[in-house]
Amino acid sequence: MSMNVSRAELQDAAEKAFGQGDLAPDAEKSWNLIAEMGWLMMAVPEDLGGLGLGADATGVIHTALGRALVPGPAMAQMLVIEALSAADGLTARDDLLTRAMGGEVMTASLAGVSTTGLHACVPDADRASQVLVVEDARILLVPTDSAGITILARDTWDKTRRLFDITPGESGGGLVLAEGDAADALARRLKAQLLFALAGDSLGGAEAVLAMTIEYLGTRRQFDRPLAMFQALKHRVADMKTWLSAAEALFWANAAEASVSVVQAGALKAHATTVYRTIAEEAIQLHGGIGLTMEHPCHLFLKRAMLNCALGGDADHWEEQAGRRALEIGAA
């Protein structure tokens, strides 16, 4: 983190922007706010017009967005921006990067590398001017008005995200940002970045839904006492707080590392999303009947948690990978 912006200052700014208790705020207003505050240029090197901050700063952003269930394509946009930042020597790059940092929507798949030509889980593709296409040994930026491209809206349970399937078509149009080994290296970096972002979003959401649940237990009375007085419930809350705290510590420890491997980021993502899912599940149960209604925001967290679990490779996948990695380290 640079000398002039501390994590605490950034957290304060995020708190002012999205921490006023307004869950799942208006998409357009949120997007303008994100761009105005410079969040999209946070990780871009200073000589490219960015703020040159590291994962510690983007970690603050993703947890803040998760905490308030902010809609929009920030996560995907940051992947595009990272890819553009890496594409040195392309004449069109500087203009595209400036536009992306300013808030012109450019999007990317949150599912990972496509082997079938279908790019799934692309947020806000209908509003985007460009889509990042990550293929084997090739990464390109394709205008969404290219001939032959198809964009299909997919209605997810989670209404805080708007996902699309994209098939770029066979025209081969678009700007090649990286090829060969460079493309593969960039793809790995993008993947690690996506997994880190999903982990941050999850931990922010988990923190918020846990706080909401604790508050509810303190006010809801049954058997002439607040539910928060029952030890059976307190102990469940204490467990949740413990897992969340450990996962948060791991998240910030990862953020402080100079480089994080894809598997390491995947293990973190698996852990963080599992914690989020568990807490969101428990939140519904502990809220009782009201938690099953649309009028209460509990369900928003559950739906986003489950989606985060599925995006970018699920816990089953990453835990297996982490196990293989640990086995290799032990054998070395």
Partner: protein
């Protein structure tokens, strides 16, 4: 990390390369071997100035900052040295309580001997005072210049090998339970003291039961005033400052290779279920290490909250249970055949059934998981306490 800390790390590492005991896991198969090894290793560390880095600067080997202590513990864990089990209560619980509550005469009398290897144990828990420590019933009656003590203490770590004991006794039954407690320093060679080892389910004997039958303790061996015992005991219980869990977490991470080896030995390198469990475990271990690290950083920065220590302990104890259970599952039938334990071998020895049973030490001792959950919910998260007033005879009073 500053240059000074890096230098310290380098010095400690170099010293350990030359001096760390080797082969102790194989040789510590009897109490005698364990005691010899522990005494010898402590003396070596004390001589090198690494045994009591947490002591105040006026004592030899003391005056290290928390950040420096952390470096020393990380290096001791990294080199897989034996944990200082025998002298732990002496250098932490006894010494830190004496620093805070002891008179100058008491400090002069006891502190130097700790450095020479005198062993202290703790006499707090009783058959009916475990999680509810304030319920201590061991009686001390003042008769002239002595207290006459009668009662029974349980779970005194290394009590059967100890020379002295930190004793929490009841001097009054009036008023609040906590207000009637007094803190005494007991010489275990005193007439009327019987120490009996407790046989743990995995075959070790790390704790003792103490029987006190008309034991006379001079009044000058009281720490604090009569009735101040609860406050003195709180100092004892908070003496280790978070370093133990940091060290234990680091050792748990350092022992993950044992699971990896077992996966290979049992030919399950491609067993997806096992790989997932192993991957999940390594991540949980990493998270616990990160939490212990963060806890100590917060403590150094002075921003620790009440209850933070409970988060670390609960995260560690549950993760250790998972660690040893995975080892036990992989160990299969082999782990079911009795294998003699390594005394003082730590929490992860690869003797999986023994390790699994021993993991309960951390979910029960030092404030059980259930007590930690109470602390986290009530003190850290400010959830209301349960109403008091239930009585055995009539239900709600």
């Amino acid at each position: 990390m500053t240059d000074a800390l890096e230098r310290l790390r380098h010095d400690v590492r170099a010293w350990l390369e030359a001096n760390a005991p080797r082969g102790w896991r194989e040789s510590c198969t009897s109490h005698e071997a364990f005691l010899d090894m522990q005494r010898g290793w402590f003396a070596k560390l004390a001589e090198a100035g690494y045994a009591v880095p947490h002591w105040p600067a006026e004592w030899p080997g003391g005056g290290r900052s928390l950040a420096e202590q952390k470096v020393i513990y990380e290096e001791l864990a990294r080199a897989d040295t034996p944990r200082l089990l025998l002298s732990f209560m002496s250098t932490y619980h006894a010494a830190c309580t004496l620093f805070e509550w002891g008179s100058e005469a008491q400090q002069k009398q006891y502190i130097p001997r700790i450095l020479e290897g005198e062993i202290w144990c703790q006499g707090f828990s009783e058959p009916n005072a475990g999680s509810d420590l304030a319920g201590v019933k061991t009686r001390a009656e003042r008769q002239g210049d002595v207290y006459v003590v009668n009662g029974q203490k349980l779970w005194s770590t290394m009590g059967q090998f100890a020379d002295k004991c930190l004793l929490l006794v009841r001097t009054s039954t009036e008023g609040a339970k906590q207000a009637g407690l007094t803190y005494l320093l007991l010489d275990l060679k005193t007439k009327g003291v019987t120490a009996r080892p407790i046989h743990q389910i995995h075959g070790d004997e790390e704790f003792a039961e103490l029987f006190l039958d008309n034991v006379e303790i001079p009044v000058e061996d009281r720490l604090g005033e009569e009735g101040q015992g609860w406050a003195v005991a709180q100092s004892t219980l908070s003496s280790e400052r978070g370093l133990t869990l940091l060290e234990l977490s680091a050792r748990m991470r350092g022992a993950l290779w044992r699971i990896g080896d077992l996966i290979r030995e049992t030919g399950r390198e491609n067993d997806v279920g096992i790989l997932r469990d192993f991957g999940r475990l390594t991540t949980r271990v990493d998270a616990t290490c990160a939490l212990a690290d963060q806890f100590l950083a917060n403590r150094i920065a002075g921003v620790e909250r009440v209850g933070d220590a409970s988060l670390v302990k609960l995260s560690y104890s549950r993760t250790l249970r998972e660690f040893t259970l995975l080892g036990l599952r992989l160990g299969g039938m082999d782990a079911q055949y009795h294998t003699p334990i390594t005394f003082g071998g730590g929490m992860e020895t690869g003797n999986w059934m023994a390790d699994f049973m021993n993991s309960y030490a951390w979910t029960i001792a030092g404030g059980s998981d259930e007590v930690q959950r109470n602390i986290i919910s009530e003190r850290l998260l400010a959830m209301p306490r349960e109403p008091k007033g239930w009585t055995l005879a009539g239900g709600a009073a």
